[in-house]
Subunit: 202 residues, 2 copies
């Protein structure tokens, strides 16, 4: 397998984290967004959205992080993506949150600071705080987001929550989130990405 | 089953459309967003995101349209959501597009006009056009978005594309999209929502 990847991308890290937990090997192909490497003719053939991550597996090309996470779980028959109706729906709920409040709030707040992206700071911040309140409230009496065990819902929501401080968003007011981050970091195969050594934990 | 629903919501219509295609009965509970009915204590117990649709099925409460679509397909063992790794990944790719470019582009452009929402018109429009180009390009040599048959990827992407005109976005420059809309409308069980009789088709 080949992963078109950027080290500082939380979306790419989701795939790297799942691969590490599943014990999957792959070749990393670094793509520099700021050098326009996702906008070449060649790359647009792989992903017309001009985004990373992209996974290439034996001729199959799959873009979008939640699609890649789902693909790898089904290919490996992993219970990190359940198959029954209710637990699958619970995972999908939080994948939707990862693509909405987390991406348009937490990830954008970080992208303003880290990559100079031209998003509106205040409205981004409002969405980011909404995301944290939602997740913290949900985790008050739960260990994991979707079911009673780790799933790709946790893997998809985790990176930009654990990098919130890079967007000047403080998670120290959300102890249930901090405890959840701690649990994820204790999972077998867990790997970090840059910036995560500064996540404020309890 | 109970569906907490708003007639003019494209996200709610996705669930109504799938139920119609699967022949499922349910009770509709109308929720008025503008009257704050999604922000009552009682409703927030159902969905802390204060959004519709919400499905209640025999005590289970499921929020978010892509979660509800997935739940109903698995519950009914419908091939509108495939189970194998590759076709599942293809569906997930377009569910992600439905939650990103389509929601933050096409749906927001409509929400500015129709509900007076305070989104930025120009940047919303740019995302909406990106969505249309992506979908139209993909459909150049395909009948359906994800696989060689209709799936919930089509059901999730369809509403705000077919309502683009309500956000002053013209789809008549995208004939592959127009043909795809025509195919969806010919599916057994298909139902419309308000505004769709004005979709410009070939």
């Amino acid at each position: 397998m080949k992963l078109y990847d950027m080290e500082l991308s939380g979306n790419c890290y989701k795939v790297r984290l799942l691969c590490a937990m599943l014990g999957l090997d792959y070749e990393r192909i670094p793509i520099s967004l700021k050098d326009g490497e996702a906008e070449t003719e060649e790359f647009l053939q792989l992903n017309p959205r001009a985004q990373i991550p992209v996974l290439e597996d034996d001729g199959l090309v799959i873009w979008d992080s939640i699609a890649i996470l789902s693909y790898l779980c089904r290919k490996q028959d992993s219970n990190l993506l359940p198959t029954a109706a209710e637990p699958l729906a619970r995972v999908m709920q939080w994948l939707a949150v990862s693509e909405n409040e987390i991406l348009y709030g937490l990830a954008r707040a970080r992208a303003i600071n880290k990559f100079g992206r031209p998003f509106h700071r205040n409205s981004t911040r409002v969405v980011a705080i909404d995301a944290l309140k939602l997740i913290d409230g949900h985790l008050q009496d739960r260990e994991w987001l979707a079911t009673d065990q780790l799933s790709i819902a946790d893997i998809a929501c985790y990176p930009y929550v654990a990098l919130a401080h890079e967007g000047d968003i403080d998670i120290s007011r959300y102890p249930a989130i901090q405890a959840w981050i701690g649990r994820i970091r204790q999972q077998p195969g867990y790997i970090d990405m840059p910036g995560m050594d500064n996540t404020p934990l309890i």
